[in-house]
Homo-oligomer: 291 residues x 2
């Protein structure tokens, strides 16, 4: 999904938030924004917003020396979500449709996202995600594809949220699937990395790999060969969140995108209202010559 | 008041809003933001945020050909405020302290500001401004200075708001003051220009001049000689809104700044909470050699 004018404003917000998380020195914060500004005119056509998000993080690193400005936030999100895990697991276990309940909770977890909003009301988000109808709900083709699939690739999104993802991964494993979970290959805003996957206990129930890059998205041209092989070899890919959607929106599938459309450009791209819940399933044949 | 890191994010928001008001072409909107970005690294230390706001408007003009992107918004704000004028005037006339009531309403009008918020709840803002205590309330020294003053200079802020300013100007005239109202010398975001002053009927009760520049602020180094003479010759200057405050915050006085602190940097500079109502009065002797 190509970068939109709104994305540029949002990237400056991200730059400010990352700079502030890294340092209290306003001069350095301004330098981060000035260096980000200097790169904007040279952004090549067809770039996706997370590519600039990756630049933000690198600029913060170069200007402040801080390699992981959101580390504390990520850990706090994990602890917060872990505290809710037992009660949420009971919800899934007692639901009429455990898969659907786990999907809804995984989307609720997608609200834990520093990259878009500045605060979050998790209890409210959970309540909403369990009640609000999905704006795009390809549940039937998704479950049909899931029945046939053996090797699943689950693309995690944020720290904290990854604890909620665990419930869905548990349900997929319970259905006999071999699940591989992918996280970022390095600090990427508040996205989940190997540390967060471990904290969520994902390694106990699934294989955990990383994308080989600190891009806050999955872009097949940017990941390492090992990840790309896994992606292309999976029977079904489940992608969480906006960042992954932005990188994969044009990919043919079999691909299920599970997200809350938090910003206007993503909502427009999907043809839904901002704030809508989405389970989009695509299963077009892969074109010849594509990666 | 020097530019802060938050201001840079806010200026990109302004750039996007101005670009969108000027054109539906996303390519041109992106060009506006890219050109704004290209200028950010070269912003000299000590610049104030409205100077970049002025650049935003000039970039929009150069990229889209639109000289006054907020014209329709400004006219709508005026009509909206004019519809409320008779009922608000009755409020002032029946108040125990007509001056204070007019001051409170003038601050309420300061909420009509596209440059900071995207929407505004005018009825709510009026109710709030009439009830919430001011965080800085130099009413006594202000009224003492007002009693002694003959020539007043009133610095208007936004279109729409200027209709509310009329109530305060009426009250000042009723007290026998010779009031000059100053507006911007050309389109400056949604700031009031000569057209808006006329629409508010200010020319019927006061002299109306302009600053000689399309800067969305009053900066004595940027205004024309005629305005500067008026400024320095006034017995008392009443400055409305954040934009004027940002240009005049270091000026000695006699200067009354009347505003709602809508953003964090201005609130911090004033030492108040964001959203606070402020009547700040300064009357320090002008240093030698200052303009």
């Amino acid at each position: 999904m190509e970068i939109h004018p709104e994305c540029i404003v949002c990237l400056f917000k991200l730059g400010l938030r990352a700079a502030r998380a890294a340092t209290n020195d306003e001069k350095l914060q301004r330098e981060v924004l000035a260096r980000l500004a200097a790169e904007i005119p040279a952004v090549p056509a067809g770039s996706i917003s997370p590519e600039i998000g990756q630049r933000v993080q690198r600029i913060v690193r170069e200007v402040t020396g801080e390699t992981d400005p959101f580390l504390r936030e990520k850990r706090r999100s994990n602890e917060f979500a872990l505290a809710h895990l037992p009660e949420l697991r009971r919800r899934v276990e007692s639901a009429d449709d455990a898969l659907l309940e786990a999907i809804r909770l995984a989307v609720a977890g997608n609200v834990i996202d520093l990259a878009v909003g500045s605060g979050y009301d998790l209890e409210g988000a959970i309540a909403e995600s369990l009640e609000v109808p999905f704006a795009i709900f390809d549940y039937e083709p998704f479950t049909l594809a899931l029945e046939r699939a053996r090797r699943l690739l689950y693309l995690a999104d944020n720290a904290g949220e990854i604890v909620f993802d665990r419930l869905l991964v548990e349900e997929l494993v319970r259905r006999g699937k071999a699940v591989t979970c992918a996280v970022r290959g390095g600090p990427a805003i508040n996205d989940a990395t190997a540390e967060d996957a471990r904290r969520a206990g994902l390694h106990e129930i699934a294989e955990v790999i990383d994308t080989g890059t600190d891009l806050p998205s999955v872009l097949l041209a940017a990941v390492d060969d090992r990840f790309r092989e896994r992606y292309l070899g999976a029977d079904l890919v489940i992608s969480k969140g906006q960042g992954n959607y932005e990188g994969l929106s044009e990919e043919p599938g079999p691909l299920a995108c599970l997200l809350k459309a938090k910003c206007a450009p993503v909502a427009r791209d999907l043809g839904v209202e901002r704030g809508a819940l989405v389970l989009r399933f695509r299963d077009a044949p892969r074109a010849e010559g594509r990666p």
